[in-house]
């Protein structure tokens, strides 16, 4: 027993340095990608392309924020892509049936949050396995999406709505500003508030948190509601950017999101991780995709490279 303890001890002694390493490795990796792609394509480092990359990552980035919380707290949410789809078509459906566009936006967010609440209820309150529950809602909600749209995309929104996903403020895309703002708020919440403390503690030892008089059901429930709400926010920007709500919106996006979070150094079993890491992970995925596109590498190969990246990220966690 003592042996095990000593092993844990040495691992923990190394913990701070690992954390610094993860962030610095990610920065180096990102810088390396930027340098490499800039030698491959003269177009790569232009303002236009950089803006492009940032806009492209907003969908993953927005959802990766609560996903970081969810995974640090020792759970998992695989249903985010379907929730995104559901919020997107809710928005389209409501607007199409004559609801005011901004009312539709708010209701789409509410639907996202409610879907998250369903996950949260089953996982936090009824103690069901997060992976199983969210696989269930992933399949179920996607089915619902196809029922609502009957498979047809819903398009044709007012110009004011397109500002969200396509407009700029001081030359910076509005969606990017929102993503950065939400990342900053989430960073402060996890670093400086009790919500952050509870999240980490929950991932390390839920029982001890419960015995400390903290309502673990509520905390865990809220992480899933946030996850649903942010998938809803991502859906609004998605519809605004592509000017259309399709039934396939957000299909499979959960893998990109989880990849970003894991590459960012968040531990798959919870307890450890950071939003700075997640942000860098999101940028790395976006840069890689964009750079490989510019080089003319096929999307299929890009998937292979992302897969390898996941394996590398997770292999580092076993140490």
């Amino acid at each position: 027993m003592n042996l095990v303890k000593e092993e844990v001890n040495t691992r923990l002694k190394r913990l701070p340095s690992i954390k610094i390493n993860t962030i610095s490795i990610l920065v180096i990796l990102l810088a390396g990608l930027l340098i490499f792609f800039s030698t491959q394509s003269p177009y790569f480092l232009t303002t236009l392309n950089i803006t492009n990359v940032l806009v492209q990552v907003t969908t993953i980035g927005l959802i990766a924020i609560p996903m970081t919380y969810v995974i640090i707290s020792g759970a998992m949410d695989l249903s985010v892509g379907s929730i995104l789809g559901l919020s997107a078509v809710t928005l389209g459906f409501l607007y199409e049936s004559g609801t005011n566009i901004w009312v539709s936006v708010v209701l789409a967010l509410v639907v996202g949050a409610l879907a998250g609440a369903l996950n949260g209820l089953l996982i936090a309150r009824y103690k069901m396995q997060a992976i199983v529950v969210t696989i269930g809602t992933l399949v179920m909600l996607r089915g619902l999406v196809y029922i609502i749209t009957k498979g047809k995309p819903i398009s044709g929104y007012p110009d004011s709505f397109y500002f969200l996903g396509q407009g700029k403020v001081l030359g910076i895309p509005f969606s990017v500003i929102v993503m950065m703002a939400l990342f900053s708020i989430a960073y402060i919440l996890i670093k400086k508030t009790r919500i952050g403390r509870y999240t980490y503690a929950l991932g390390n030892n839920e029982e001890a948190v419960r015995y400390s008089g903290i309502n673990v059901v509520k905390v865990r429930f809220l992480t899933f509601v946030m996850s649903g709400l942010f998938a809803g926010i991502a859906a609004i920007f998605y519809v605004s950017r592509y000017a259309s709500a399709q039934a396939s919106a957000g299909d499979g996006i959960e893998l990109d999101v989880i990849t970003a979070v894991l590459i960012g150094g968040t531990h798959i079993f919870g307890g450890r991780g950071s939003l700075v890491g997640t942000f860098l992970g999101v940028l790395i995925i976006g840069t890689l995709r964009n750079g490989l596109n510019l080089m003319g590498v096929s999307v299929l190969f890009q998937t292979v490279i992302l897969g390898v990246l996941i394996l590398v990220a997770v292999s580092r966690q076993n140490k």
């Binding site: 923990l12 508030t193 509870y198 001890a208 015995y211 008089g213």
Partner: protein, 504 residues
């Protein structure tokens, strides 16, 4: 077979150096066949290092080991096992979904025929014979998960014996056992001794040592302090040898204590749907609760703290209060130090600072943001008050000794400024020095007006600390002992009374 007067094992001048630390410094240790030799010392004294060297996990840097007067090199645990040295760990290493016999003979060629088939009947018969040789009656075909803790320990021992163990190291063998099964374990140990096995018995528990051991060796700071026949030493002597100074009385003086009004009245409080308890706790009182595992003491604590659902109101300072969850309990000034600090008490991957303020984060936040300064001040205060030994409040809890970890849990609950503190097994797995400190703290707290419910299975602790002791048995409070009335026999008798009747 063996000669009782010749040592089976001689460890001479054993020294073990780790980079930067000398864990053992010239330790001599002799072991005779058919003896139970207790090994005592505080955490960090070198007990586990010495036992790891003996079982082949570590290699010593100086000194030699003689087995039956021949020098041996114990390169790894397999070599040690083949030479007849086995270790039974505190936590068992059994496969819950395999049968007892399968566990005993796992990975053993003897029971596999030339064609690669397992000879089930032979395996089961040999497993049965092994368990019977130590006086245990176990259905060896049953899956281990359905067997009790005592039976699991027997299986571990049988596994060791199947390697023909001549030397058996038992690390805190009673730690995992419920109180009423400790006696059964003693019977097994006695049987082993009669069979000529030499037993190294590593334990913190004084009363056990005096019941079961023939000799006792005390280690301190990596060196040997003494080896004595158990009949030629006393508890006080052993403690002072372990600590290196006179601890004085482990327990405080209880004569000058006065109590006034009752702060907590529990009336017809449900333990189960059938069993209700009533008692009252007075300000500044230390009220002991004794009961065997399953007697309801643990449930009572969890119910009062709101961790378990159920009906039942308690009266606090004369007001009737319904407690639905821990938050309600904490609002009433109740705190609960749980029995298992690893699972329930601490987030061991986090720092002392983060652990200590976990229950009071709301209080020390300005709006949403945690007041770091206030948090540091609180930490400094309690680290000093409880003399927690740590280089800094940012130290990860896992790196602290058991005693200091326990103090962090205690500090964590004191930060909530409770009026009523429920403590369950407050000194489990901490060494004597830390124990004395914790007892001193508990006493000071009660003198300053904190009312304490002390639930423990360690009877000397209960008798030494409590002003009154209530005994629970099968969900009922069966007896009350005033200060000075209780002794271990009476407590155990009350706690196990009807259970015995049921067996008969």
């Amino acid at each position: 077979m063996y000669q009782m007067d010749k040592p089976i094992l001689i460890m001479e001048g054993i020294t073990k150096e780790f980079p930067g630390v000398k864990a053992l410094d010239g330790v001599d240790f002799e072991l005779y066949p058919g003896e139970v030799h207790a090994l005592m010392g505080e955490n960090g004294a070198g007990k586990s290092t010495l036992m790891k060297i003996l079982s082949g996990v570590y290699q010593h840097t100086a000194g030699k080991i003689l087995l039956n007067e021949e020098e041996v090199t114990l390169n790894n645990p397999t070599v040690a096992q083949e030479l007849g040295i086995s270790i039974i760990h505190q936590e068992f290493n059994l496969f819950p979904n395999l049968s007892a016999a399968e566990n005993i003979f796992i990975d053993r060629k003897e029971i596999i025929s030339a064609s690669g088939k397992i000879n089930w009947s032979r395996m089961n018969a040999e497993a049965k014979a092994l368990t019977e040789s130590i006086g245990a009656d176990i259905d060896v075909r049953r899956e281990v998960q359905y067997l009790g803790v005592h039976s699991q320990q027997v299986i571990e021992i049988a596994k060791a014996l199947s390697f023909n163990a001549k030397i058996l190291i038992m690390d805190e063998p009673s730690a995992a056992l419920p109180e009423d099964e400790v006696q059964k374990m003693f019977d097994v140990v006695k049987q082993l001794r009669n069979n000529g096995v030499a037993i190294v018995y590593v334990s913190h528990r004084m009363n056990e040592i005096f019941k079961i051991a023939d000799k006792v060796t005390v280690l301190r700071d990596g060196g040997k302090v003494s080896t004595n026949k158990i009949t030629e030493t006393t508890e006080d002597q052993l403690i002072s040898e372990m600590v290196g100074k006179e601890v004085g009385d482990l327990y405080p003086d209880k004569t000058k204590r006065i109590f006034n009004e009752s702060v907590l009245n529990v009336n017809d409080f449900d333990i189960t749907s059938k069993h209700k308890v009533s008692f009252s706790l007075r300000r500044g009182e230390i009220l002991g609760f004794f009961g065997l595992v399953g007697s309801g003491t643990h449930t009572l604590a969890e119910r009062i703290f709101g961790l378990k659902k159920g009906k039942g109101t308690v009266e606090i300072n004369g007001k009737s209060i319904l407690i639905k969850n821990p938050k309600d309990a904490m609002k009433q000034g109740i705190a609960y130090l749980p029995p298992d600090r690893h699972r329930q008490g601490l987030v061991k991957e986090s720092s002392i600072r983060e652990n200590m303020t976990l229950p009071i984060l709301k209080r020390i936040s300005n709006g949403l943001i945690i007041d770091k300064k206030a948090e540091q001040v609180i930490n400094e205060e309690y680290i000093e008050k409880l003399s927690i030994k740590t280089p800094s409040q940012n130290q990860v809890v896992n790196l602290l000794s058991g005693g200091n970890q326990q103090k962090v849990v205690l500090a964590k609950w004191l930060t909530t400024k409770p009026d009523i503190l429920i403590m369950e097994e407050p000194t489990r797995g901490v060494d004597v020095g830390a124990k004395a400190e914790i007892y001193r703290l508990i006493n000071e707290l009660s003198l300053s007006g904190l009312s304490i419910i002390l639930i423990s299975t360690e009877m000397p602790e209960l008798i030494g600390m409590s002003d009154r002791i209530l005994v629970m048995n099968e969900g009922n409070i069966v007896n009350e002992f005033k200060n000075g009335e209780a002794d271990q026999q009476k407590l155990l008798k009350e706690a196990s009374n009807s259970i015995d009747k049921m067996v008969v």
